[in-house]
Each structure stands twice: as C-alpha cells, then as structure tokens.
C-alpha cells in the first residue's frame, strides 16, 4: 500500500511527503452528526500518524481532539482507526500508508469528541470479571509471593495488555452484542485464572462464563491480529471456553468443580 508521491526536500536536507489526512470530526456542541475534515500535512519519513495529528493540532487546527501520552506503545491511549483498521497511532508509520489517510476513532465504541472514545466498555468489564488477584490462601506476610518461571510462563503474555482497546475495535461481536464483555477484559480475567497464586477462577466464571462472556466469541481472531502487545485474547477466550465447559460438565456430574 505504498502509493507515495515525490519527496519534498526541506532546507535542512530532511525529506518530507505531502499526505492528505481525512480526519473524523465530531463536536457534540455543534455537530449533530460526524463529518470528515481534510488536512494537508508535510510528513517526514520517520513520522507516525500521531506525529501528523500533533502537527495538525500545533500548526493547522487546534480544535482537533485525540488522546495520547507516551508516543512509544506503552500507555495504550492513542488507539484509532487508520484507513479502517485499528492501530496505535504512535506505531502506525506514515511511510506504510498511501497519500490519503483516513483517521477515525476506534470502531464499535461510543465517540465523545473527534477521535476520543468512551472507555467504559473495558473499564466496567474489568470490574465485572474481577481482573485482580484473589489469592487461594493468605499470601506470605514476611516474604514475596513467589512463583517459578514455569508458573509465570503460563500467563505472562496475557499480562502484557495495555488496555488500548484496539481489540474492541476489531471485534464485530463487540458491536453485535451490546452486553459482551469483550476481548481484553476476558483475556485479563484469564491472566489471573492462570496465576498459580490465584483461587478466583470460579468466582470470575460468574461473569466470564455467563451469556455475556466467552460464549459470544466466535474466534474471528481479529482481536489478536491487531493487538500491539501480542496478548492473543482470542486464544485466551478459547482456553476459557474449554475450561468452563469441562467445569460445567464436572459440576453436572456432581464431581465438585468450582475450582
């Protein structure tokens, strides 16, 4: 997708390329419906989409609203749709895109203003799934709560989630089922289910294995494709389906379960 125009050579020798940005605008105090606004931005070779937005904000139109903080794929706040796909805008290099780039707020989520979306869908559901450690027994009082490398290995990749919500934007089930807990919340529930120090799996199942939880997932797998931290929420949800099913049948057969 590299339809690049000729570079412009600036006075200091750096090259830049004129790129047209079509940016989603929604200003609730004046717009009843969203509109697209065009900006022409001279982009440097090493720029990411976030740099272009900062250029717009600083030099062209100070009214544009968007979230960002770290500019290094750690804070998880600059997620947006770039040409229809969810990206961290700090990781979306302009050189990988054509001369017309459409920037929109993360899909499937309620828009507050311009590129700023409501984060309740994740924050509320992290609470719902109890995404925190519920120790099976009181942790040791006078020493660290230890784990072996093998115990860490089971959930380490899931703990990499930065709550950026790209997975919510990639998942059609999030849009099709309003109550669906969503990929990141479920993956972060599984992160604690798999923790050797935790004993809260059954308590979490009340939400994760409810009708609003894992069963809404059809393993489309796009959540994992777009995840900037390779968390693989889709895989985590599949593992929960298997574990929850076996637990359900174990309880049906009166063999306890509730583990």
């Amino acid at each position: 997708m590299s339809v690049t125009s000729l570079p412009i050579v600036e006075g200091n020798g750096a090259t830049s390329r004129m790129v047209t940005f079509e940016v989603f605008r929604f200003r609730p105090e004046q717009d009843s419906a969203p509109t697209w606004q065009r900006y022409e931005v001279p982009c440097r070779e090493e720029w990411v989409v976030l740099d272009a937005l900062n250029h717009i904000k600083d030099h062209i139109d100070g009214t544009l609203s968007y979230r960002w903080s770290c500019h290094m794929a750690v804070c998880g706040s600059c997620g947006m749709m770039v040409n229809g796909q969810p990206y961290l805008s700090c990781k979306a290099f302009i050189r990988d895109f054509p001369d017309l780039i459409r920037v929109a707020p993360l899909g499937n989520l309620t828009v507050l203003r311009d590129l700023v979306v409501q984060q309740d869908r994740l924050m509320d559901n992290l609470q719902a799934v109890k995404s925190w450690l519920m120790p099976a027994e009181p942790p040791p009082a006078d020493q660290p709560y230890r784990q072996t490398p093998a115990e860490l290995e089971r959930y380490r990749h899931l703990s990499m989630c930065i709550n950026c919500m790209l997975c919510y934007a990639a998942c059609p089930q999030v849009a099709l089922n309003e109550g669906y807990l969503g990929p990141a919340a479920l993956a972060l529930a599984q992160r604690y289910n798999l923790d050797s120090r935790d004993g809260g799996t059954f308590e979490r199942m009340q939400a994760t294995a409810s009708d609003e939880g894992i069963w809404e997932c059809t393993f489309i797998g796009e959540c994992s494709e777009v995840c900037p931290k390779h968390v693989d929420p889709a895989g985590a949800i599949q593992q929960m389906k298997l574990a929850s099913s076996l637990d359900w049948f174990a309880r049906l057969l009166g063999k306890g379960g509730g583990s």
Partner: protein
C-alpha cells in the same frame, strides 16, 4: 446535562470489509457442506438398509456430474475447515513443558500428522 454522544453502527456487510473477516466467514460457512455431508451419510445408511439395488442406485446418483461438482466444492470447504481448525488448535490448547511453552507450530503439526494418518487409514481400509 451530559453532551450528546455518537454511537457508530456496524454495517450489515462488515464481514466483507477485509481479508481477515472474509476468511472467517468462509471458515464458518464450511458448516453447511459439513452438515449436508452428515445428511448424506444418513441417506447412504438408509439406502444401504433398503438393499443391494438401492445401494447401487445411491452410488450411481453420487456419480452424476452435478453431484460430483457439489462434492468437489464440499471437499474444498472441508479441507479449509480442517486446516483452519488445526491451525487454531495450539491457541485453544497451549502446553507448557518444563519452564517453556511448547512451540505452537509443534502442536499444530501434531494435529496435521494425526489428520494425515487417519485419512490414510480410512483410504487404505476402503481400498484394501
């Protein structure tokens, strides 16, 4: 009073939007040929129960050009189902041996080997 919000709506044709969604829909639609194949098996058993002539007639019906065309399409879907199912298997059933995760490719490969072995066994039993 809170400000008005904009709530986007997923378009009906979302599954055509890009390759990942299209491959997903293709994979899901494999359920139709596979369900019809299950029905074909029931029909085969039914015709078998009716006697030798009915069984011959059933086999002749499957050898007509439209039936063959359908079977080729169905086989394509079934193969796609198998490949996608086994490719996703390591993510449903990851394994940790010692301190390390078993490489996902190994788990997938084990499924593919089992698939090949069972397929060969079926074909050898029929052909023997």
């Amino acid at each position: 009073m809170s400000a008005p919000l904009y709530q986007p709506r997923l378009p009906r044709g979302w599954w055509l939007a890009h390759g990942g969604y299209r491959r997903y829909m293709l994979r899901e639609l494999s359920c139709i040929p596979i369900g019809l194949f299950a029905a074909t098996l029931v029909l085969a058993l039914f015709r078998l129960g009716q006697g030798a002539d009915a069984w011959l007639a059933f086999r002749a019906a499957l050898a007509t050009p439209p039936a063959i065309a359908w079977q080729v399409i169905a086989l394509g879907f079934a193969l796609y189902h198998s490949v996608s199912w086994f490719t996703l298997a390591p993510r449903t059933m990851p394994m940790v041996v010692g301190d390390r995760k078993v490489p996902p490719a190994w788990i997938a490969a084990a499924h593919f080997v089992l698939w090949l072995a069972l397929s060969l066994a079926i074909l050898l039993i029929v052909g023997a």
